[in-house]
Amino acid sequence: MTDMRRTNELGRMLVGVSQAPSHLWVRGNLPSMPGVAIVGTRRCTEYGRTIARTLGHSVASAGWPVISGLARGIDAAAHVGTLDGGGEGFAILGCGVDVIYPADNRGLAGRLLENGGGLISEYPPGTPPAPFRFPARNRIIAGLSAAVVVVEAAVTGGALITARLALDQGKDVLAVPGDISRATSEGCNLLIRDGAHPVLSSEDLIESLERILGPSPVAASPISVSSTGVLLDEVLEQSDRPVGAVLADVVRAELAGRLKIKDGVVGA
């Protein structure tokens, strides 16, 4: 574990967090901007798992970092979706960054690291998991996120704590509606009743996020697209990044339906 380090680089993001830690322990990278948290219950249904994965994919494709807790169930599905979407996923742990709990998700943690994401914890390396540490790390999840999406949650549970902490920090909360007869949907439906944005589809989520956070990083990065269009060559010239990387971004934005490439011109 040579790549562990202690950092205070995220101090600014953690400003609204109660009892914010002065330093965080990190393996891999740190999010370059506030991300989108996708959280939910560990005892999820197949429906919740599918939705979490789909939403993780969409958010990652749009270019926002995806933040979750590496727990079983919804958290893990959201991380997997992030990897599918080729995005950067960050897991906030309730134990040391070298301890990784639950152990089933060690492989997933490794893939997050390989794909430009990171593992983050306020606890020093070697700290074992303990029940009280998980609710506490939820305030870091909320702190590093610009918005929190709750996929499936019962009325009691960590996900709702995260949502409440996010609201306390002045951040937006979105929730996926579910069966009113199912306990694991109660928390989400409750949040919607209390004013959370309901998430009706992937596209709806991205639209809501863009309303809240501004244009998605992918849409924003290859310069804003006017209705008359701009030459793809110009887009490439104005970026300092490698041609291939910019092209990949433009194509992803096209697939997400945000722009069109025709005859060498990028248009809206």
Partner: protein, 481 residues
Amino acid sequence: MVGAEARAVRIEAHVGRAKEGFTVVGLPDTSVREAKDRVRAAIISTGREFPLRRVTVNLSPANLPKAGSDYDLPMALGVLAAMGDASPAGARVVAAGELSLDGSVTRTRTAIGAALLAARRNWPCLVADRDAAGAALVPGAVIYPVATLAEAVAVIAGVQPPREIVSPAAQPIDVSADLGDVRGQPLARRALEIAAAGGHHLLMVGSPGTGKTMLAARLPGILPPLTAAEAVEVACVWASADRARPVSDQPPFRSPHHSASMASVVGGGNGHPVPGELSLAHRGVLFMDELGEFPPHLLNSLRQPLEEGRVTIARRGSTITFPARAQLVAASNPCPCGFKGDRLRACRCGDNALVRYRRRLSGPFLDRFDLRVFVSTPDSSALLGAPAEASERVRERVIKARSLQVERGDINGRSARSDLDRQPMDSSAVSLLKQAVDAGILTGRGVDRIRRVARTIADLAEIEVVGDEQIAEALAFRGDL
């Protein structure tokens, strides 16, 4: 030479008792039959008498048609041996060259082929001075350059040691066509680099004057240099077209005009079949400007050779094959007037004309192009900007990417679906491809193209498993024509 393949011809000479005469048998064409007079004059020039008896020369195998003047030298040597006058009797050599009346050996057009045959037999090979350096490139060939018939006799007899070959200075890559001269055009430059790295056929669409020809001409400069064996192959093809090409490790670049005949592009012709431009571009680049102006039947006849890497010409009694592993670069205007999509000038084409034009540019032939790129008019700031990356640097990356492909098998531009299926792709790459097909921007046939290109992009980045980043970039070159 049969096609680009050298065949050995054994020369038998007989000096008989009958009255004076000189006959050549074994399907000689006019140029071979005329050798009689050159051979006679050359022998006399060495100070010997030409026998006043019946001289018969047989070219074996007798059923193979012979053409060209390279039989002069071996015929003269054969006659001398039959006269018992010179010592070459019993010596085994491969000899080829045209004789002049004064006995000098002027040229050996089939020098490379002769050297290949000689190397296979472990015999020495006699060729004209000026063609010796090229022939010496053939691995394992022992080349004796000879300036005159007398020298050839002396060398074979061992009276005179063979001369050293003066090898010409290596031909440097033509620096006049450097990628550094191309300002702006980052998209097309990238396409060119990927095309070079994977050997993909490239289609460039853009208005006149956007630099498509300039870009295409810079492709050979970023291709890996030819290996010695490849340089020999190329030289063989050029020799069979009776064209002089300085032996060089630079891949050839051919650019036939759209009014060129089928025979000159694909190969064939009346009488002795010659390789076409496609074969002259073997191991190099065939550039077809104004692709839409080429007759459709010509384009269709290119399809099979491109796939097989060789042109087969059927003739009465025989088929002749020329190699044709050329990389195709085509350029086309986006519409009949040329200015569709141009940001400065307006397109004047009607809808019907556009549809007709696009139809010409579609179909199975276009499927050969893995990479399609729209070339736009660079703006003034790009034209005046700093020089771009030079060919040399790009070529280093291309060579590295190619070596990865060679380790796996063939280059990506030639890989079939079964090869692709062996190439790993991660789950994000698969889901992105699926997304592209679902969104309707990619057809089933397009998927293989994208996978090939993505594999090359990964090779350029020295990445083992193709990911969504590579697929996404490859999709930028899908060209929705």
